[in-house]
Subunit: 241 residues, 2 copies
């Protein structure tokens, strides 16, 4: 998979591309990431990439440098262009899976008041938001999208099970997890988890998962359809409060 | 304001703290950010910070190194502890405003299957999610939270108007924005925006904002209460489709 990022703040994106989990994916050749500095496509004596917003004040990125930056990335195949913006669709796991199947994902990072709407209309395939809050630019969402997408590439996360057993794959919130020591600062790990009865552990995890989802995210419980989770039997009564 | 970040991947967080907008906030003294490497609080010959999950497999962060890392940050005043996790409350602008009023925000980054639930129960004040998608760790959400919070600190973003005029402050999605040139690759800026009639511009912006919100995020329109937006008069009919 290939990912291009068009940004006016390339250093942060470059240190991200070189770091941690993503660094391993990149160095193993499973993922190619190219950071494109929009300033390389500026024009005139002042190397301008932004200008005042018509009728509103505030600064925004101009269409031409972004378009030229995008055209420079076309050697990697037709880009699927994502523009992170608070006006976009909320990112969710199905959309992440969708993006992970693109051959060449290109993320255009806005700043200030955003980017010229004519660029968005002409080139952007998906406007994506991380949620109803305001960020200084598109770099954080770009990193979050790359992180979420890259972990679906086989071999990037340690084992397939750590992808498939994660939150939301069953449609419910994840259960609480515990590790050693069995007693820590007076608090013990729930006995069932250290008991070695695999069926009892599975029952406990499902029950906690359903309980948690009902407590914290009833919307998710509704979406997931709680019925298949309850069909196993005995724990139905326990979660039915 | 003070922000501590407890992480097993300190380099990325350090390059973030030194970069772009946040770097300016930090160097101007308006924000102090401390990156705490959880490995500095590991024990034993192997400097272990993670271990197998009871009853599930997968690796997770142990409670003791996290607790000691947290205690090491207490010199900055009582921390308000945020743990980014897919099981948390979705981040939204009101929550960001809330966090921006904390004296000492501390973000604990999980990895793998997460962190020991006993640590969460004992120390975490808020479990916060960026949305229903899975990331490799808490570093991306930590950066997004810091970015969103720090831009509310007076003087961090260029002008107060760029904070207050942004998306969601009026409860609606932002309007499209345009900048020079007035004609770009055959596409013109909407005439009203270049005309200089401030009232007409304001009317156009409100109408597009309401239209966009109805098209893309009817949930937001419902939450914002569309009535005050329509009370201005003439454009009511135009958006009422």
């Amino acid at each position: 998979m290939k990912i291009s990022v068009i940004t006016a703040f390339p250093e942060l994106m470059r240190s991200y591309a070189a770091s941690s989990v993503l660094g391993r994916a990149v160095s193993s050749g499973k993922l190619e990431v190219r950071i494109i500095d929009v300033r390389d496509f500026s024009h005139g004596a002042y190397r301008q990439i932004d200008d005042y917003c018509y009728g509103a004040g505030g600064m925004m990125l101009m269409a031409e440098p972004l378009a030229e930056a995008l055209e420079s990335a076309s050697g990697w195949g037709k880009p699927y262009v994502v523009y992170p913006s608070p006006q976009g669709t909320h990112l969710h796991q199905e959309l992440v899976e969708d993006l992970s199947r693109k051959e060449h994902l290109t993320i255009v990072c806005g700043h200030y008041e955003g980017i010229d709407e004519r660029f968005t209309q002409k080139y952007v395939d998906a406007e994506i938001s991380l949620g109803d809050f305001v960020l200084t630019g598109g770099e954080m969402p770009a990193m979050a999208i790359i992180d979420a997408v890259s972990r679906l590439i086989p071999g990037v996360v340690g084992s397939a099970s750590s992808v498939t057993e994660d939150s939301f794959y069953g449609g419910m919130l994840d259960t609480p997890h515990y590790t050693r020591p069995a007693e820590w600062r007076g608090e013990k790990v729930p006995e069932v988890l250290t008991g070695g009865d695999a069926k009892a552990i599975e029952r406990w995890r499902r029950r906690r998962s359903v309980e948690r989802t009902l407590e914290r995210r009833p919307d998710v419980a509704a979406r997931a359809g709680i019925i298949p989770w309850l069909s196993g039997g005995a724990y139905v009564v326990e979660v039915h409060y």
